[in-house]
Symmetry: C2
Subunit: 278 residues, 2 copies
DNA sequence: TCCCATGTTCGGTATAGCCGAACAGCGTTT
DNA sequence: AAACGCTGTTCGGCTATACCGAACATGGGA
């Protein structure tokens, strides 16, 4: 087998379980289909696997509740199962920041009418660990566990701005930085300068850099040791008057971020720019 | 989590992928360790697998983000990864009932000071798909995706009460009904009578039947076709005066359940006692 | 009704998953 | 400090097993 389809290049191709990798790719694929679910044949085609192998994998996932089946025997559709919800909830429940942030994010969303989220830094990405949707607004793609790109999201830039500069630079020049919109900035030097500005003024801005027409402002949250515990952000459609409102929005978000920090026992950043132990 | 460790007896032992099953068991085991994480050797021992095999499984899960590792090379600890949070969130996001229920459950919790949840019927179990924790209260085990036993939980009995009697009886006599507390009722005939009472008065009661000292009241939610979309419940410590407050609590919960039903476009139950297509 | 595409079942074979053992680091203990 | 004990990592090798291809079964659509 020369080439995998979903192959993320890891260090050692050896010391892996091939069939497990295939099954996990399959789960991602089923998740991608969403509400409608996926059929066995489609999944087999998508993974370049025989129907029989796909069948065996699905039966195993089924027995463990990682997928659920729906419909009669002939056109059965598979969707993600509740075991994933159970384990995924455990992941989130183990993060103290989430408990502290969600009530305050709810106030923030109510106050501004904007969708808000809280994220932490993991492996150089900003991972969304909590969100509060604005009522009746456009549904932004802020799924839990989603990896926000660090160079074109408000939470990402906020988190990077408190990292030692060499670490931030390493993250920003690690891979090819994807271009999401015409406003996406992929120049490392320019991004480093923006991170310095972000640290100075205390908030980060994503101005249509990830999604056209969508703007974001993010601020860091600090724990009792002054280390960065995570970052919060508010997201909304970029409308006229945005430039004028930006400062006021940033002040409000920073205020609530500070409240979350206090709720964690912290008060503000450590001047040294320390960071969480990874 | 009462039982299960290794093999749940499915229909056809054949047509399964053994190594995948082992990996999924491993995930459950890691989740059971919680915040501290698990070490490779412990996991290998727990699964009766060689270290080498466990290592390969973990490396694969790691590459896909289903587990995360923490710490240096020697005493590395594994915990559940964010891919599970991402996929688990997709499971919940695909359920329309959750969006409708959560804002109203928040009001309910604020009003009563009780933890509230919303559940749906899946394979004869009540699966928790949303929850709102009471502020500062005892943290009840209401993790998302958790399967509540149908015979000793308020949501379970509420959901069963709207099923055709023969289906409810089939569920209640399917397996050995576990005894959770001295108050747990495992007598099918008596439970069937209670379901009839539940349907008549419009709310279900769990009086220390699942956890000692904890009481629960649940009500069904109906969609636009009059079918049962799910059930909500409020949970709290059973204190003196409980018997007196019960009726008032039930009225409040039923009121909010009706609001959720209206938000789904429904107004009330279909007299026939129909149910959702599974 | 036929037909097509789907899900299910079945041997056979080469693969790859598992084991045992040996190696290599770090923490702890005497 | 040095030896120990435990950890995680790497390595051949055997054989279980995961995959394939094909045949069967089953429902939906025209």
């Amino acid at each position: 087998m020369p080439e995998r389809s979903g192959g993320q290049a890891g260090k050692s191709e050896r010391y892996r379980v091939q069939s497990l990798g295939r099954a996990l790719d399959l789960l991602e694929d089923i998740g991608r289909r969403g509400r409608e679910g996926a059929r066995l044949s489609d999944l087999a085609r998508g993974q370049s696997l025989s129907k029989a192998a796909t069948y065996a994998i699905l039966q195993t996932l089924l027995a463990h509740g990682f997928v659920a089946d729906e419909g009669a025997s002939i056109n059965r559709r598979y969707r993600l199962g509740f075991s994933l919800a159970r384990l995924g909830d455990l992941v989130i429940a183990n993060i103290a920041l989430v408990d502290a942030a969600l009530p305050i994010l709810r106030e923030l969303t109510a106050e501004l009418g904007l969708t808000s989220r809280v994220a932490i830094l993991d492996d150089g990405y900003a991972v969304v660990v909590g969100r509060v949707d604005a009522p009746g607004a456009v549904r932004f793609d802020a799924a839990l566990g989603r990896r926000e790109l660090p160079h074109c999201s408000a939470v990402g830039k906020a988190l990077l701005s408190r990292l030692p500069p060499d670490e931030a630079r390493a993250i920003l020049s690690r891979d090819e930085l994807p271009v999401r919109t015409p406003h996406t900035n992929t120049d490392t030097a320019s991004l480093m300068a923006e991170l310095a500005l972000t640290a100075r003024r205390g908030y980060a801005v994503d101005d249509e850099e990830d999604t056209e027409g969508v703007a974001c402002i993010g601020c860091c949250v600090f724990d009792r040791t002054g280390s960065v515990a995570g970052a919060i952000s508010a997201t909304g459609l970029k409308q006229r008057g945005w430039a004028k409102r930006r400062e006021a929005l940033a002040r409000t978000i920073a205020h609530h971020a500070a409240r979350i920090s206090r709720s964690l026992g912290g008060s503000g950043p450590e001047p040294g720019g320390s960071r969480r132990a990874s």
